[in-house]
Subunit: 429 residues, 2 copies
């Protein structure tokens, strides 16, 4: 049963919406030890840790071109077609994110512009485990390809036979990733941070992972490697009123809950009767789920909040800043305009989170844990740097120079002023 | 004298281009202590630390509207005009960075879009000291205003009389910042991280500072507050050939060197004679500088590298990834196209770094320390989140649904598949 809170006073929102604190402190010693070992011993350490954690002794961690090619034969045509459709939609949507260079004359003779340039070397981490997250390969690989990143590498742990799930290899080949390494966990993040004899050092690391991987990415960030965004358990907020289909809402809540016991589910409903109806649907649907136990646990940590005024409900949602927000309410598109803090918003009864998780075109790597207040989801932006350029004509400098001199001297930076003055003087001659 | 390296072998580049390591570890205990004290005791702790570090006992840290208004009278008309011109140019350039919402139908009935929304609450930190960095107020305040951030606050330390430099207050009023607090150092970052009775808690913190402020921002980041970018000493790389004016290059190098002894200056020159000519100019110009000693120290830690092949020089520059890059070479605009790692690029003999530092329109908050390989300078992007939205029609879901079901089941996520299936089933009825 999801605990229910009726019309909670605003003063209680802070506590009510608080995410469970994540324990990370004890991990850091172990994580640091592995990071340091890979930095010092390189490939050898990577292979040893793989033996220790993944129970397989690899000769080489690089997946061969033949292995990548062979993966396609192991998948059904239906799955391959689905992946191709998803890839195309992701591509079409992410293409619109590319910002063209626009040269601007801010004053006569003063030209300024900004150019997007793909980050040269990026690393993608894909966790192992029961769910082979090939969809994440598409979500990170497509924007990397559109951004024009020169080197895109992928690390993912092998199974005990030393193999990678063929769907992951096939997805990688769809997005043009050729350098794939059978390495997971902290040792994978370490290999991408420091480089080994086979794994190139990268400038930015992307991708999900357990708390060890998260801690390793934080460690890498302190070493000057950029990361996609801070991590936290996945979460959905569904805002429903009487126009919703309770079976749809129940299915959406369960699709989040099946991610793991620490998944966050928040139901905001316009009345208490509706919560009961949805809870009943949850109970029915839950019984058929293979991941029933996990989902049940996650639901216990979740909550339903009844708020009968839409304005206040929206305010609460913006305060929570959910990773995913489903608006199953009357005039959903209109209310969507009022959302200021969310990773991705799903509007109306026919827009379940799953479509965005896989195939509509939007990215599924999104800010969790309230980070949507300041962070965006992954996009082409995440894979480029935007470099500014400027070029002044001699006339431009003569026009703007006195302004610069005035300001530099007021900041007591005489040499800054001189850099303009020597030029203006030479132009007087 | 700047140490000179002639045609260094590529194998030595790594060592040659290495930035000096920054000592930060010992700071963290003190920084943590102040952060915790402000979290626990709020405003009282802020006032006590201000007394301790800034030697002034304040009754209230909020700068009054009257104080802000009065600041304008303390500045010369020339400085005010200069600041207005700079503000306008920054505004004109940053306006082009705003990405409009574009609704896209990735498949019939599958609508996706992305919308930029200003981060609700942002904090700007401006250091005190000898140089009152009012230019940074414009560089951060203008994009915050364009982004539509609802609450923009500014913290800057008071002098021993408890006052703020009027140029900082005037710049703040130009960009519409009304909440200004007389608080500096770690206690300012702590106040913006946790909030106090007068200072609002913010979601993202911007601005430069000494190593204590940098450490405090890192600490804030670990608490879930976003920050503009990792910090490091300012740096310039000038690439010059015989078409340059040696007095201009010398002035540009000095304008960087006067920032502080830890400033980084890298001269890449096409031949050794040119280095000598520039060194001679440096010696001459240096004697007139008020910050002579600081600049001399900075130059000792810097280097000149002679490379006679432009392609290789550009390769070295991209490996160094300078914060500022000045191209004082033949066909500078053509070579600028080859730059892939830099914060901001200044093209030709009439584009000194100072124009970008103050008034051309580009931002001066840029990635140092090689971070330009993965990070961009501050822009309107830095003050917004980009939220994705999607809305499917029932036809759209019927079209895309089977793809989602196929992929979700291959990832063993049955409930994700169900969320689509329940909807498709209801549409069959």
């Amino acid at each position: 049963m999801i605990p229910v809170f009726i019309q909670p006073d605003k003063s209680t929102w802070g506590t009510l919406l608080m995410r469970p604190a994540l324990e990370q402190v004890e991990l850091s010693a172990k994580v640091q030890e592995i990071m340091e070992a890979v930095r010092a011993q390189g490939e050898e350490a990577v292979i040893n840790y793989t033996e220790q954690f993944d129970q397989v002794k690899l000769r080489s961690i690089r997946v061969t071109t033949d292995q990548i090619k062979a993966a396609a034969d192991e998948l059904t045509p239906a799955l391959k077609t689905a992946m191709q459709i998803a890839k195309t939609n992701i591509e079409v949507f992410h293409q619109t994110q590319w910002q063209k260079t626009e040269k601007l004359e801010t004053m006569p003779g003063v030209w300024c512009w900004r150019k997007s340039v793909g980050i040269d070397k990026v690393g993608i981490y894909i966790p192992g485990g029961t769910a082979p997250l090939f969809s994440t390969v598409l979500m990170l690989g497509v924007p990397a390809q559109l951004a024009g990143c020169k080197e895109v590498i992928l690390c993912t742990p092998p199974n005990t036979e030393g193999n990678i799930n063929p769907a992951i290899l096939y997805a990688a080949s769809l997005v043009g990733i050729e350098k794939i390494f059978s390495v997971g966990g902290v040792q994978a993040i370490a290999a991408m941070t420091y480089g080994t004899s086979s794994v190139p050092k990268v400038y930015k690391i992307f991708g999900p992972g357990n708390q060890y991987v998260t801690a390793a990415k934080q460690f890498a960030q302190q070493q000057g490697i950029a990361i996609d965004m801070p991590a936290g358990p996945s979460e959905v907020c569904v805002y429903a009123d009487d126009t919703c289909e309770s079976s749809f809402v129940a299915a959406d809540l369960l699709s989040q809950a099946e991610h793991g016991v620490d998944s966050q589910v928040l139901l905001v409903a316009s009345n208490e009767e509706l919560v009961k109806k949805i809870q009943k649907e949850i109970d029915q649907q839950l019984s058929h789920l293979p991941r029933k136990k996990m989902a049940e646990e996650a639901l216990k940590n979740s909550q339903a909040i009844v708020i009968n005024t839409p304005e206040i409900a929206i305010e609460l949602i913006n305060e929570y800043a959910p990773e995913h927000l489903i608006l199953a309410i009357d005039k959903a598109a209109w209310w969507a305009e009022k959302i200021t803090n969310a990773g991705s918003v799903f509007i109306g009864n026919y827009s379940p989170e799953s479509v965005g998780d896989y195939a509509s075109g939007t990215n599924h790597t999104l800010p969790t844990n309230g980070y949507a207040k300041a962070y965006s989801g992954v996009s082409v932006d995440s894979f480029v740097k935007k470099i500014t350029f400027q070029q002044l004509t001699s006339n431009g400098l003569q026009l703007l120079g006195p302004t610069v001199i005035e300001m530099a001297e007021a900041e007591n930076l005489q040499a800054h002023s001189n850099a303009v003055a020597v030029r203006l003087q030479s132009l007087k001659k």
